[in-house]
Structure formats: C-alpha cells, structure tokens
Amino acid sequence: MFDFSIITTWIDNLLRSFMPEWLTVVTECVLIGFVLLLAYSLLALFYIYFERKVCAAFQCRIGPNRVGPWGLLQSVADMFKILIKELISLKYTDKFLFALAPYLVILASMLTFAVLPWGNGLQIINFNIGIFFLIAVSSIGVLGILLAGWSSNNKFTLIGAMRSGAQMVSYELSIGLSVLTMVAFAGTMNIVEIVEAQDRLWFIFSGHLPALIAFVIYMIAGTAETNRGPFDLPEAESELTAGYHTEYSGIHFGFFYLAEYLNLFVVSGVATLLFFGGWMPLHFPGWDGFNEIMNYIPSIVWFIGKAVALSFIIIWFKWTFPRLRIDQMLSLEWKYLLPINLFNLVLMVLVIAYGWFI
C-alpha cells in the first residue's frame, strides 16, 4: 500500500530546508487550504452531476447531456452561473447575520474535511480526538442555518430554521451515539488508528450485529443531519418554498447548496471511516492472495469510491421516499432511534467484553 506520508514528509523537509519554522507552517497551511478548497469545489461539482444523473436514471430521464460530453460540464456551467449572480440585499434583514450565516454553514462542512482519512498517510491533521473534533465542528452548521432563518426576517425561513434546529439537535444525538458505539469498538478516537484497526477486517463485518445496527442508525441520522429527503423538512419546497435559504441569492445561496452536497460526502465519508475501513482495502483474514490484489488499488480510490457508494444510497432514499412530518420525524428520533441506539451501545459493550467479535 503506497504511503502518502512519504510525499508529505518530503515536501515538509523541502520547505524546512530553506525556510524558517514559522514560514514553513504558514506555507503549509496555505497549501493545504488551497488543496482543500480545490477538492471541495471539485467534489461539489462531481456530486451535483452525480445526483442529477442518478435521479434522472430513477425517473426514466436522461439527465444533463447538453453541456460538454455526457453533460459533464453542466455543473461547471451551473456553478459559473451562481458565481455571476447578483447578491440581492434585502430591506429589514439583519445584514451582518444574514451575510455571516452561509459562511458558518460552509465553514462547518469544510472543517470536517480536516479529519477525513483520504488515503494512507493523507489526512490534514492527525490527533487523538479526531472523531470528537468531527462531531464538534459539524454542529456549527446548525448555528448557520438558525441564523439564516432568523436574520432573513421572513416567516417561512423562520419556520424552516426552527424545524432545522429541532431536527439537527435531535439527530446529532443519534449520530453521536452510533459513533460512540464504533469508537468503543475501535478503542480509540484517533482517525488513523481507527482505520488501521480495520486492516484485518472492516468493522461492519467484525462488529457484526451491533455494528450493523449502528450503521443503519447512522445512515438514517446522517440523512437527517444533512437535511436531505426524506428528512428535508427545513427546506420542504412544497411547504416552505425553500425553507431557511428562501431569501438568499447568488453565491450565498450557492454556499448552502454546496454545503448540502458536501455534507452528503462528509456523512458518507465518516460512515466509510467507521464501518468500511476508511481508505483500507477490502481484506478478509486468511485470503492473502485476495488481500494482496486489493492492495494494488490506491487507498484514495478506496476511500472516495466507498464514500460515493454510500452517498448513492442516501440519494436513493431521497428520490424514493416521501417526506416525513415534523412530529413524526422527532418521534422517530426520540422514541425509536435513541432507545435502540442506547441498547445497541450496551450490546456493543457486551460484544467487546466477551470478545464475541470476529
């Protein structure tokens, strides 16, 4: 398995050889920021295209096929259109908060990129509370959404923001608990260690029943956390026109739009990390030849491939199911997912304590 840390260490050493310590750090930060932004926008472009094509297939349509070969440039054109649109400033809004909100939302989703296991030796920061950091920063997003709804001074956005607040705060519990279950199984919060612990077998297989339950709950809660269908109540277009981002235009709207897609990637990325071994290739104990072949596929392909496959499932939900109602959604969380999750945590503890895992 190619270790990307060889390249990163080489760059680090190269920079250190002719730069003082502080300048090296600054340069690296700028470089990483640049790469991150690039990855972010490229992924967003890909996801927009991907979702449109997938949903077209579900709906017996062709999807974008005019701009560029197979419509590949369609999302580039869309992005360009959003960039050149006017930022309409509205009367009677809280100007500062109104402008701040989209940045908070996009900041939250971008920060989570820092701890995703992109490949072998390819993550931005590696520290011992990686998962904790991830949960913490992804919660900032809800603040942005609440601010957006409130500062727009519009009844629809306010209702959308309130729904979103209730929804995200509730479902964060489920996400937290299912992540906790897997952290307990891995015995560490460090992202790298979690991935390496799955070298023998992915957690979804080795943790069998409790891991499976945790995975299902994580996927449901993750869909709710990203405000996607069937949990897209905050922006239910048939009820609230566009929910909390009704009043936004231009790139500010684009930020919400991008953040939604990127959160989709983040949620599937974290699911990949916790259940499907992050960048770890598919290994089965005893199948050495198979494992060897799997190792030939680069780790970054493994990670992005798995994340996209999981995103496909979430997209599939969205285009199949009708939307839930706010009370049904909250009762699903508090009456079903949360108790099951707590029970599952106990089950996982038993599995660990008695060594029932594979």
């Binding site: 949903c55 579900f58 709906q59 017996c60 349509r61 009844k155 629809f156 209702i159 729904r163 269908g229 069937p230 897209d232 109540l233 239910a236 277009e237 048939s238 009820e239 609230l240 026109t241 285009w319 199949t320 199911f321 009708p322 939307r323 839930l324 109602r325 706010i326 009370d327 049904q328």
Partner: protein, 542 residues
C-alpha cells in the same frame, strides 16, 4: 316531484310552483329560512346537498335560485327567492344550514351585491376589496376608469362584515375580524408550489399547528360568466376548457348537453360514445396527474415521472384526434368537431394494456410505503355529513363514504348502459381520497374497454342552425367532472346569447372546506389535505 310539491304546499301555502327540468319553488324571502330548514330537516324531503346558488338579476327583480339535492332520496328541487329592492337587495342567509352556503353567498354578494342576513363573513370572494360595482348586474357600468388597474401593492383587509337583524327586524352591519390581533399569520400562496395555482391561504399558526385558514381566491378570476353573456352559444363553449383544464371534455360535454337539451337537438350514438370515451380518458389523465403531483408535494418526486408517463400517452391520443394536448376544443353543439383519428382504437388499446402494470407499480412505490401511510392515514378526516354539508363531491366526497357519482345517481349520455362500479371508501382521510382516485382509474379503463370495440358508425355532428337561438327558459345540468359534480345553469331570454350562464364548479367547495379540515393539524398536513382534495384554481375562480 308531485309529492315534494304537496309536502311543501302543505307547510307553506304562500309558495308557488313552476315545473322546468326540476321543480321550482317560489317563496318570499321572509319565509325562506323556514322553508330551508324544512327542506333540510324534514325526513321526507331531506335536501342535504346544496349544489349551487345561482345569483340572478331579472332587471325588475334580483334574487337567487338554490339548487338542492337529497342524497338519501335522490330527488331534486330548486327554490327561487327574490327581492324588488335593487338599491339594497337583502335576502336571508342559509349558511347555518349548509356549511358551503356561506361561500356561495359570498360569490353572489360579490357579483350582484345581494346582502345575506345571517352570514357571518360576507366579503367579496373573487374581486378585490375596493372594486366598484357588482359586475353581473345588468346595469353594471363597465367603464374602465371606474376600476383602474392598480400598480400599487394589493389592497387587502383583515376585516369582514356580518349582517344581522336587530330586535326591531332592521338589518344592521357589524365588522368582524378575520384573525385575532396576535395571530401569527403565514401567507401560503398566491405564489407557492403547493397551492397548485394562484390560490392564497392566509394561515394563522401556533408553532407548526394551524389555528385558522382564510382562503383567498380570485387571482385568476376572468369573469367567464360575465363574458359568456355577450357571446353566442357556440362561443361560450370555448371557455369550458379554461375552467378545470384537466376536465375539458366532461365540462364541454355538460354545456353541450344543456344547450342541446334546450334547443332540442338529438345527437347520434357515435357522438355519445366518443364523448364518453373522451370523458373517461381525461379522467384517467387527470387522476394520473393528481397521483404524481400529490406524491411530489409529499416529497416523493420520482412518482411524478411514473404517472406522467401514462398521462403522456393519453395526451398523445388526444392530440391526434383533438389537435391539442390541453384545453381541448373538441365537443361542439350537436356532436364533435372532427372524427376520431384513424389509429385511435389501437392507441387506446395500447394504453389499456399498460394501465394495470402501472397501477401496480404506483402501489408498490407509494401506497404501501410506511412514510406515505404515516403521512396520509388519519390525516384530514372529513365525515360524510361534513362532506355533504360542504358539497365536497367527486372523488374527495367518495373518500368520505358519500356515493355522489353523477354517472350513477343521475346517469347522463350512455352511462346507464355501461358496467362500472362507483368507488366509495369510508375512512374519510387523505389516504381514502388518494385510493379512490387510484381505483377510479381502473373503473374508467373498464368503461373504455367496453366501448372501444363498439364505436358505432354515424354522423359526428348533428345539423345545427347557423344562428342558434334558444327558447325562453332555464336549464340546469350536472355531470361528473374529474374532480366532482360540475353544473351548468343556463337561462335564455330567446336571444342568440345566454341571459345568464352560471357555472357551478366542484373546486370551489373543495377549497372552501380546507379551513374546516385543517384546523389543529400541522402545516405539513395542509399540503397533504389540500393535495388530497385536488382543487384546480381556475375552476373555482372562473
């Protein structure tokens, strides 16, 4: 008929009777409310379904004709109440007896300025609050300077008026509030994806719970009834497809039958079969569109494409024969405009072959889905009594257990010879209304199956005089549109254009009942309920 006349004559000696296509009772306004109470509550009469209120201006008098039907005895009566006072016409309201009467009276007030004593919410219904004059009066001044096009914000008011009789019997006016001063009112519409057109719900909410809805109509009011008074009979037909644009065929059918009946024109068997085929094809298309858009409103966007696939096939069939994909001008007085396209029969058979497969698919994707069940079952309950009182006819009424299919209760054209079941469900919730439509597609397909191989030869249009004049008289006919009982009232003074053409649309009651059903539900349920009623805004606004 005679029995009804006897019963009424015994109770009200002052009543006089006329016999048109229905029995017409003349009653002075002072006795009207008493008569109405008897009509509704006397078990021999039991007229519980108010089909429509026709406002009339006879130049010397003004007044209303009430068309009533009994759902238990299936008999009909009409009552004529008049007033001589043109300056301040006042009649008694019956909004306490039939829930929908309040809305119908608002319409009459809007067009004729007749004040209804006892109606607690008498505002204009379609025209803007500061409109000058009452357009359907015969002495209405059409000078555009009186009602200039406003470029300001829309004028509106939070107040309504109620008229009541004080102790001395004098009519007094009182201002009533539509909403409480501290209500949080959300405007759902007029530009809103879920209202299916420019309809506006002023919704008072408490958190996510709905306290009251004020339905605000008239954004696409085109004054079709007024326009028709200046057109010749064949010309009036062309407005029927601008009402409920999905039931263009049944609506044309209704007006054609009314005019043909009045003029004494016989249509051939071939024409009748073609008309019924077209009616049923539009019913399938309309219900398919309903299922698709309804699921889309609930967030299941993909269903829309699956249902539109079938609808597309029907539109192709229509296009070949009628030359249009919407607003079909196909039926004409005496027959139809042109003969069926050569491959009509093959196309329809191809359609019939795919329908069962598609219905199965819809049920698999949506009807059985647990989220869909949670969203629909038990939501928006409408009891049978309320459905009748609010005149909620059509599939929505049949979802509440009210067997109100005009094709069965008062068969017209060749429906009495055809074999099909009336779909009635008793749950009364949104799911029942949804399933009724699903099953009606199957029944319509059954009707088409019976006819498609037996289209008789014959002329496609009877001989109709170039200048059509109807004899003096009045006619009222109803048909089963795609959304409910559609009625046309036609009064002729012997000229080439109607003296009054009143359209009784099914969608006005459907929209009016929204407030009644949604109280205490969530905002999301408003979409579920409104969607399940399936109103079409141009139909109610006319």
């Amino acid at each position: 008929m005679a029995q009804i006349q006897d019963t009424i004559a015994k109770l009200f000696p002052e009543a006089t009777f006329e016999q048109d296509d229905t029995l017409l009772v003349n009653i002075p306004d002072a006795k009207w409310h008493q008569l109405a109470t008897q009509l509704k509550e006397n078990s021999e009469l039991a007229f519980d379904f108010l089909v429509t209120i026709v406002g009339m201006d006879w130049k010397d008098k003004m007044g209303c004709i009430y068309y009533l039907t009994s759902t238990t005895h299936n008999h009909h009566v009409s009552v004529k109440v008049t007033t001589d006072n043109r300056e301040e016409p006042v009649l008694h309201s019956v909004s306490d007896l039939w829930a929908i009467a309040g809305m119908f009276e608002r319409e009459v007030y809007d067009f004729f300025g007749i004040v209804f004593v006892g109606n607690n919410d008498l505002r204009r219904l379609f025209l803007s609050v500061d409109w000058n004059g009452f357009p359907l009066r015969k002495d209405y001044d059409e000078n555009p300077a009186l009602n200039p096009v406003s470029t300001d914000n829309e004028r509106q008011t939070d107040f309504s008026t109620a008229y009541y009789e004080n102790a001395e019997g004098k009519v007094e006016r009182r201002v009533v509030r539509v909403f409480e001063p501290d209500d949080f009112v959300v405007n759902i519409g007029p530009q809103h994806p879920a209202t299916h057109g420019v309809l506006r719900f002023r919704t008072a909410v408490d958190g996510e719970t709905i306290k009251k809805i004020d339905v605000y109509m008239g954004y696409i009011h085109r004054g079709i009834e007024k326009i028709c008074e200046k057109l010749t009979y064949p010309q009036t037909l062309h407005f029927m497809d601008r009402l409920d644009y999905f039931s263009a065929h049944p609506y044309h059918h209704c007006l054609c039958m009314t005019i043909e009946q009045a003029a004494g024109i016989e249509v051939s068997r071939r024409v009748q079969v073609i008309r019924v085929l077209m009616d049923e094809l539009s019913r399938i298309a309309s219900h398919c569109l309903f299922i698709g858009t309804y699921c889309m409103d609930l967030g299941a966007t993909t269903m829309l494409f699956y249902t539109l696939r079938v609808r597309e096939q029907i539109l192709d069939i229509m296009e070949k024969t009628c030359g249009a994909r919407m607003t079909f001008n196909y039926e004409c007085i005496g027959g139809v405009m042109q003969d069926l396209a050569p491959d009509f029969v093959d196309d329809v058979k191809a359609l019939l072959a795919v329908i069962p497969k598609n219905i199965k698919e819809y049920n698999k994707i949506f009807t059985g889905n647990v989220i869909a069940k949670n969203r629909l079952e038990g939501v928006g309950y409408l009891s049978k009594e309320d459905a009748i009182s609010w005149s909620v006819s059509g599939p929505s009424g049949r979802g509440s257990g009210w067997a109100c299919d005009v094709r069965k209760t008062n068969p017209y054209s060749i429906y009495s010879e055809l074999e099909f079941d009336e779909v009635v469900r008793h749950e009364g919730d949104s799911m029942a209304r949804f399933k009724v439509r699903m099953d009606e597609i199957v029944q319509s397909a059954r009707i088409i199956e019976q006819l498609i191989d037996n289209i008789p030869e014959g002329e496609i249009c009877a001989k109709v005089p170039k200048v059509l004049k109807l004899p003096v008289g009045r006619w009222f006919r109803t048909v089963e549109g795609c959304r409910g009982t559609f009625g046309v009232y036609l009064e002729s003074d012997g000229a080439t254009s109607p003296y009054r053409l009143k359209i009784a649309p099914p969608c006005l009651p459907l929209a009016s009942v929204v407030d009644h059903i949604t109280r205490g539900s969530k905002i999301a349920d408003l979409i579920t309920i409104g969607g399940s009623l399936d109103y079409i805004v141009p139909d109610m606004d006319r």
